[in-house]
């Protein structure tokens, strides 16, 4: 286990959440219990946290919109007091990596958390503008033309595309694609972005990766030119 600390966001007096915390501690992880959105945001930026478990009833919007964008590549686990199939499906659809609930026993909580911690975010694909990335099939295409990218390059492109035009920090990009923390001085991300840029420049001029000095990279997508409503027939 590489990172031992799990952030638990919720009301500290909630007995269900307290039981969850005990199960986490009993499994050998450390718990960082926080209630304030500001503290949570700060901790995610400053602390080494393996995953965040949040009370969906209270923090769904905070985690699955704002924090998910600001801390790309993190692992998000929602917690609900009871089990409801539709609710669980909705949280997963909005980007939660896992949904735990108060009906689960300690062993199940541990097993599900372990799975979240050990398996980095699996690609599920991105479709934005003329860019299509199918993570399961391992295919990326621009305006219908397949891009000859390595798996790493495709994952970097996908991580940038997911950020929807916002800059992604090198460290966050590394964590999302490589699944680990980035060591100080490591230029792996930069080398991969440079190679990706060269490939995109040749075949996908509508995709541009911009550098934000001291921060990271941002993907700029130029929408594909619209085809005319009626086909143009040229007679020779």
């Amino acid at each position: 286990m590489l990172e031992q600390r799990i952030l638990v966001a919720g009301t500290s007096s909630d007995p269900g959440l307290k039981r969850l915390e005990d199960a986490i501690v009993g499994s050998g992880w450390q718990v960082m219990a926080l209630e304030s959105p500001g503290e949570i945001d700060f901790a995610l930026g400053a602390e080494r946290i393996a995953a965040s478990v949040f009370d969906a009833a209270r923090f769904e919007e905070l985690f699955l919109t704002r924090l998910r964008r600001r801390h790309a590549g993190r692992r998000w686990v929602a917690w609900t007091a009871g089990y409801a199939s539709g609710r669980t499906a909705g949280l997963l659809a909005r980007g939660a990596d896992e949904v735990l609930n108060g009906t689960m026993g300690d062993a199940e909580v541990r097993a599900r958390l372990l799975r979240v911690l050990e398996h980095r975010h699996e690609s599920s694909g991105v479709v934005t503008g003329g860019l299509h990335i199918d993570g399961d099939e391992g295919i990326a295409s621009w305006q219908g033309v397949e891009l000859a990218l390595t798996a790493r390059e495709r994952e970097v492109l996908e991580a940038l595309a997911r950020a929807a035009g916002r800059p992604v920090r090198r460290e966050a990009l590394y964590r999302e694609v490589w699944g680990f923390a980035m060591a100080r001085g490591d230029r792996t991300v930069d080398v991969n972005v440079k190679r990706l840029r060269a490939k995109l420049g040749a075949v996908a001029p509508g995709l541009a990766i911009r550098t934000h000095p001291g921060v990271g990279y941002r993907l700029e997508i130029e929408e594909p030119a619209r085809l005319p409503a009626t086909p143009v027939v040229t007679e020779l």
Binding site: R48, R175, A183, R187, T188, V191, N192
Partner: protein, 206 residues
């Protein structure tokens, strides 16, 4: 072993000059290789070719040593110097090989810094080897080798510390870069060891 009837002690000098230039060429290739690895034009085979060239030069020096009754310096010093300069290239080749062997996906700033220091140290060592007949000029270069070696020590400590700053760094990443940092450090240390031998020769013969 048949000894030469006509002494040719001066033949050692161009061989040591060539060995120094070969070590410098290897260091420059290493620097170019690590700068943008794996997006580099320098192949491991290029570095390996210089390592073989270094072996040939060492063999030539030892062969000459074994056939010469008269030598410009003590026999053991000539043997030791040839071996030490060869070690520099061997360590460079080893570090370069690890980049491919460990499937490194991108360079680290600290390794680029080490390579810069390595080039500086071999430049000075090479200059000293080319001036074995001019002790005073050669000594100035030996001082510079020592300065680079000190800088190399500081860089490698910082480099290894960077690997352990965050427990979330991949253990495989730590293993591969620790080995590479250490191999580069050994190459820099080998420059200093060779410069000590040059220093001893200059003291005895200056």
């Amino acid at each position: 072993m048949r000894l030469a009837v006509v002494p040719r002690p001066a033949q050692f000098f161009p061989l040591f000059t060539a060995a120094g230039e070969n070590a410098l060429a290897a260091a420059r290739l290493m620097e170019a290789r690590v700068r943008n690895f794996p997006e580099t034009d320098v192949a491991q085979a290029d570095v390996k070719a210089l390592e073989s060239e270094g072996d040939d030069l060492t063999r030539e020096i030892i062969q000459l040593l074994n056939t010469q009754y008269v030598t410009p310096f003590d026999r053991e010093d000539i043997y030791e110097l040839a071996r030490c300069v060869d070690d520099v290239v061997d360590h460079i080749e080893h570090a370069s090989d690890l980049l491919s062997l460990y499937r490194v996906e991108g360079p680290m700033e600290q390794a680029k810094e080490q390579a810069r220091v390595l080039v500086g140290a071999t430049e000075s060592l090479s200059a000293a080897l080319g001036l074995l007949r001019e002790p005073q000029s050669a000594r100035e270069h030996l001082v510079v080798v020592k300065r680079f070696e000190d800088e190399g020590d500081r860089i490698v400590r910082d480099a290894i510390a960077a690997l352990f700053e965050d427990e979330g760094v991949s253990p495989l990443f730590v293993i591969r870069w620790k080995d590479i940092f250490e191999a580069l450090e050994q190459a820099i240390d080998a420059c200093e060891t060779a410069s000590h031998v040059v220093g001893n020769i200059l003291v005895k013969n200056g």
